[in-house]
């Protein structure tokens, strides 16, 4: 429906929601700017170059189709870890279920609770990385989020933080339309781990802006699951400075439509950015990873590792780009995207891109799509492993390269166990 209407009317419909909003203090100007930017760029449509494979309609329609909520075990995900837990139910902060945000070794505030204040460190970031990330490729859903999001966390790590911050997204409402905007600042030499888990909303639009100071490190593990009909668009904008480290991994299971965009800028020499994803989809499932890594400094390393397991007509999309600017010598860029198609109805659409203006760089990319390796399957079965179990073993082994990008064995174990559960529920 979005594409037959003049595109601004849908934008207006969305932005009308903002009109009733009062005082936003330090973020008000950023919101107004975002509204103006959105007016001029319009919402995504099928003719946009980066929306060719994934139809944006369901993400931008003004009404949300309801999605059945699964009462699942996912609430206990990562529960074995010491953590600072922050719980949102249908996008609304739950103080009862969350840990005390005071007195932690990292500063954590809620966007909604700082909005009346004038001046805030997050003012230098909120909507700023998002705005920068609009060029050269427009990402209107993120701009929409900047304009409208009423909640999110503002996290400031000033030193080494021991416990990970865990954002838990629960759902109760069948048709919740959730928007959260998080801002994370890791100071020079500081470190932070961020975990995210849960299905969030019938539809969710999340933005995460992360700035990592010189020699700072940021680790991020996200599990999007397990409700079936939900829709999600996420944008992660990250800015790295000298010698900083960024490692992000996302696991997605189920969901009718998920678009995860990751936009990384390496601005300081010798930075390291790894972004990885594993997804498993069965049936009514479209999963899109759209990644843009810009090397704008010397001697940086970037890795993109994405693996998709698709069955019963599921669709996987990967659009990944490495842009190496002229002065970004000694760049080491790597990108791999692979799909395992468990039947002939499923499909994988990949668009790997390299754009290189420096001459002393090592960049490689590859993309493959294939079925379960018949020889490996036969080998396992000939040793007595039943077909379904052997297929699961090979599926896990296919995903392993992406999962192993997480640099914490305990977290890897946690993710693998979760995947085993997903596979086991589908064993015939």
């Amino acid at each position: 429906m979005g594409f037959v209407e003049p595109k601004n009317s849908l934008v207006d419909l969305w932005l009308n929601r903002a009109e009733s909003l009062t005082e936003h203090g330090w973020s008000e100007q950023h919101r107004l700017n975002a509204q103006a930017r959105l007016q001029s760029m319009g919402l995504p449509n099928r003719r946009d170059e980066y929306w060719k494979y994934t139809r944006p309609d369901r993400l931008i329609e003004s009404t949300v189709p309801s999605a059945v909520t699964l009462s699942s075990e996912d609430q206990s995900l990562f529960s074995n870890f010491e953590q600072i837990k922050i719980v949102f139910i249908d996008g609304v902060f739950s103080p009862e279920m969350s840990d005390n945000l005071e007195g932690q070794d990292v500063s954590i505030e809620l966007l909604s609770q700082t909005k009346a204040k004038d001046g805030h460190w997050a003012s230098d970031m909120y909507g700023q990385l998002e705005a920068t990330g609009q060029s050269p490729v427009a990402r209107p859903l993120a701009t929409l989020n900047t304009a409208l999001a009423e909640e999110g966390v503002l996290v400031h790590a000033k030193g080494a933080t021991l416990k990970p911050v865990h954002l838990v997204y629960l759902r109760q409402n069948e048709s919740s339309d959730v928007m959260l905007h998080h801002v994370v600042k890791v100071d020079s030499g500081a470190s932070l781990s961020l975990l995210e888990s849960g299905p969030a909303g019938a539809r969710s639009n999340f933005v995460l802006e992360t700035d990592i100071g010189a020699a700072g490190s940021f680790r991020h593990v996200r599990i999007q699951g397990r409700d079936h009909q939900r829709l999600a668009a996420t944008h992660h904008f990250a800015r790295l400075h000298q010698e900083s480290i960024f490692k992000s991994f996302t696991l997605t299971a189920n969901g009718a439509l998920t678009r995860n965009e990751c936009v990384i800028e390496l601005l300081g020499d010798d930075g390291i950015a790894h972004v990885a994803g594993a997804c498993v989809g069965d049936g009514d499932f479209v999963h899109d990873d759209t990644v843009f890594v810009t090397h704008d400094a010397v001697g940086c390393e970037s890795r993109q590792v994405f693996k998709k397991v698709l069955r019963n007509g599921a669709t996987g999309v990967f659009q990944g780009k490495i842009l190496v600017k002229q002065d970004a010598q000694k760049t080491d860029g790597y990108q791999i995207s692979q799909s395992l198609l468990l039947d002939e109805d499923s499909q994988f659409l990949a668009k790997p891109e390299l754009e290189i203006y420096a001459d002393d760089v090592a960049c490689s990319h590859g993309s493959t799509s294939g079925a379960v390796d018949e020889d490996a399957l036969f080998y396992l079965r000939s040793r007595g492993v039943p077909k379904a179990m052997a297929t699961d073993m090979l599926t896990l082994s296919f995903l392993a390269e992406a999962v192993n990008e997480i640099d914490d064995d305990q977290l890897i174990e946690c993710v693998v166990e979760w995947l085993e559960g997903w596979l086991a529920r589908r064993r015939t």
Binding site: F378, S382, R383, P386
Partner: protein
């Protein structure tokens, strides 16, 4: 133990017959060897017996301990006691060798209605068997066959065989790619499993493996059939004269 009668096999994809009436009977406690020129159908026979896809049985039968096996799934044949040591063992990245061995062993036990082996027992037994094949802890930890040398892969096949304790062992060119020391290790592993209850079918090109694993019966396969059967001396004849005399004689 294993009884193959008039087995005819063609390829599923194309109209090509590969096995043209194989008759073979391996008794418990015996070692049979199959020799024959390249392309005569030896590997095909081993694959068809263990249930690999892509082949069509167009006639004949094969029974293991009296049970018809050609209709069974590969894993059911394994649980029934059949084992194939592959000519080309498959690399499986991302699956640890130890996990693989334990999953296979317990899956077979489960199918046979036996109890799973405890982690402690498993560990003890694997370590003991691995040691006699000079398979170190690192090889057990690594993904199945990934980065293994040719010899290491073959030793890993024998380790699986030793652990799974099958009734009927088929070895397809286990000697290829082995140096003398590895050949001795592998042969020792095979000989350790020889007893009155177990049958062996050893496919090889060379007499030298049969110096270590002494066969009771030797068959010559050519163009999809067993064309000659004899005692160990038949292998020596092949070693000195090649196949041409034998093939001319039966033509």
């Amino acid at each position: 133990m294993l009884e193959i009668k008039n087995l005819h096999v063609s390829l599923e994809e194309e109209d090509k017959q590969i096995l043209k009436g194989v008759d073979l009977r391996v008794e418990a406690g015996k070692v049979h060897a199959i020799m024959g020129p390249n392309g005569s159908g030896k590997s095909t026979l081993s694959y068809v017996l263990s249930g690999k896809a892509g082949y069509q049985v167009t006639g004949g039968s094969a029974t293991l301990l009296g049970q018809e096996i050609l209709d069974l799934e590969p894993e059911e044949r394994a649980a029934a006691g059949l084992f194939l040591a592959f000519q080309y063992p498959v690399e499986i990245p991302g699956v640890g060798n130890m996990t693989f061995l334990r999953t296979a062993l317990n899956a077979q036990r489960k199918m046979r209605g036996e109890e799973e082996m405890s982690a402690a027992d498993f560990l003890r037994i694997v370590r003991e068997k691995a040691k006699s094949l000079k398979i170190d802890a690192d090889m057990l930890k690594r993904p199945v066959n990934v980065g293994f040398s040719g010899g290491e892969k073959k030793r890993n096949e024998i380790l699986q065989m030793a652990l799974l304790e099958p009734k009927m062992c088929i070895l397809d060119e286990t000697d290829s790619g082995l140096d003398v020391d590895a050949m001795k290790l592998v042969s020792r592993g095979v000989n350790a499993l020889r007893d009155d209850t177990r049958g062996f079918l050893v496919i090889t090109h060379y007499q030298r493996l049969l110096d270590h694993i002494k066969p009771d019966v030797v068959h010559i396969m050519a163009d999809g059939r067993i064309v000659k059967t004899g005692g160990p001396e038949l292998a020596l004849e092949v070693e000195t004269n090649g196949y041409s005399d034998i093939l001319a004689e039966v033509a």
